[in-house]
Amino acid sequence: MDVAGLARLQFAVTGSLHFLFVVLTLGLAPLVAIMHTRYAITGNPLLERMTRFWGQIYVINYALGILTGLVMEFQFGLSWSGLSHYAGDVFGAPLALETLLAFFLESTFLGLWIFGWHRLPRRLHVACIWLVTLTAYTSALFIMVANSFLQHPVGAAEEGGRLVLRDFGALFTNPTLVFALPHVLGAGLLAGGFVVMGASAYHLFRRTQEREFFTRSLRIGVLTALAGSLITVAFGYAQFGPVGDVQPGKFEGLIPGVSLGLMILIGELIQFTVMLVLAPLLIRDLLARWHWLHPFLMAMTPLPFAAAIFGWLVREVGRQPWLVYGKLSVADALTPGLTRADVIASFAGFAGVLGLLAVVDYALIARAVRRGPGQVALGGADLPLAAEPVPAHSL
């Protein structure tokens, strides 16, 4: 494989890893925020336990979202300096806004939420998780704006061999953005709903002590998945119009074609199962009581994640050979002078380390699920400052 191919593979692998965690973040954040709000209003201890249990799953997942996101952030400059040279004056703006207006605040408020138990007044603490949700969605908006610009470079004009910004607003009404963004957000809800469903099914199947907790959680998971599937499928089909207009023939290649087929297959399967089987079985809690169904629920958990990866393969491989559609090819955007050894070393480092940590993270999520709501660290007791004094001079 040549240097450009390796650099592309590196981007594809780190980007896919990143999205696996991001898609769950997007789905779980609003669920945790709603649980926390209901707890703050009612004071119901069950809701507190739900907030902490699902909040901890959310937080463990978020860790890998950050770690993989760091690599994404820097990768444009490392491997694709031709992109920042040619289109940075336009493409850089949404990315800069993402870091300042979304990620900076998301991370700061998440820290306040994670460590603020027993410390922040209840209303402010709830406000933190809503701010985390809001900024996570803002982040998705800016990233999709940037990606949509690569699909269909609106709002810019070429001057002296470089793109300059003409109309910033046009980036937000980009036809490749307006249906893709809700499609992705729906995919997030679908992923969140499926994880909540799968984990709840595990506890119900094992007949653990937490029957009421997971019966309620299962209901939340199914309803979230229902909403997610309706949004995802509707906006999925809606995307064919604009894509056909601005990127004709996009799905003709082998990878985009097959991936599109598989995504739609999974999407339809999910929609029929959730709408016609799972949602009706919520009546009188049949779904929670029919234990023979639970292994299927657990086994279905990875489906939205697989569909999401297929979706990105469609969108990104279908754009080839362009980096900025119709204007800058991937080959021309590659950092000049980049050697195979450079890319192989960094690819091995990133893919190896992030791949390993991703496996660890999923194992830790599974562990947290297995241990159940009885052993949640999030919101646990603080260490008293005076317990074992560390005098300043001994440091």
Binding site: I60, S79, L95, L105, F115, L165, L338, L383
Partner: protein
């Protein structure tokens, strides 16, 4: 307009070292200052609520570099390729150590604490070498003796800063050491400030066009008080009292 974004960049870079510097330093010193598991819990508990709010300064810095100085972003990052890759890997390893330390079983804890320390040391070394390479005009092979020396010097500086922070945060009773912490924070920011002075002219000459900078300013300036407010809120909430235990 270029000057405004240059100053923003400079503040973010200096602020990153003043704030994240103590997390890095404390991570390096963890095995030295924390001889028992309980002592390490206290040290990590002291810095934990700040880390998320501190490390985002660097993410914001990268964003400003890309948005306001895109040509330099591509040029600098690709010229510093191996160092930036090393920096990112160290950062990832450090963060994994923090996030996973208490999530896995107790027998794994030494592994994640090791990751925390090794990652922190890697961050300091990579940063020292990067700052040195920038000062020397991005040489072709930045992994050399001056680079290593700069890394070692920065490591020592940040370790001192981390120690000052721990002494300040972990004291029980009347508060002292605030001034020492301020001093070590300023000292930690000095190398970055020096580098900024050296590259300022070059950066000004390579800023994005006015159109782009105006859009960025219009979007960011109204939100800036929220960014500052959130940071202040973190300090007001976590700078004294019991230590949270999640990390």
């Amino acid at each position: 307009m270029e000057i405004f974004w240059l100053l923003t960049f400079a503040v973010l870079l200096a602020g990153y070292f003043a704030l994240e510097g103590f997390d890095i330093g404390l991570g390096v010193l963890l095995p030295v200052l924390g001889r028992s598991p309980a002592a390490r819990d206290r040290l990590v508990g002291a810095m934990a609520p700040f880390v998320l709010a501190n490390e985002v300064w660097l993410v914001a810095l990268a964003g400003v570099l890309f948005g306001a100085f895109p040509v330099l972003e591509g040029r600098a990052l690709s010229r510093l390729y191996p160092l930036v890759v090393a920096l990112l890997l160290a950062w990832i390893v450090r963060d994994a150590g923090l996030w996973f330390r208490r999530r896995a079983g107790a027998s794994w804890r030494p592994v994640w604490e090791g990751a925390l320390t090794v990652g922190s040391a890697g961050l300091a070394l990579a940063w020292g070498a990067i700052l040195m390479a920038v000062v020397r005009g991005l040489p072709a092979s930045p992994f050399d003796l001056p680079g290593l020396a700069a890394g070692a010097a920065l490591l020592a500086l940040l370790a001192w800063h981390g120690r000052t922070f721990a002494a300040w945060r972990l004291q029980d009773g009347p508060r002292r050491g605030g001034r020492a912490l301020l001093l070590s924070a300023c000292a930690a920011a000095v190398p970055a400030a020096v580098v900024m002075v050296i590259v300022a002219g070059h950066m000004l000459a390579n800023a994005a066009p006015d159109q782009t900078l105006t859009v960025l300013s219009v979007m960011v300036v109204p939100v800036a008080p929220i960014l500052v407010g959130a940071q202040v809120w973190v300090w007001r909430t976590f700078s004294k009292g019991a230590l949270p235990t999640f990390f």
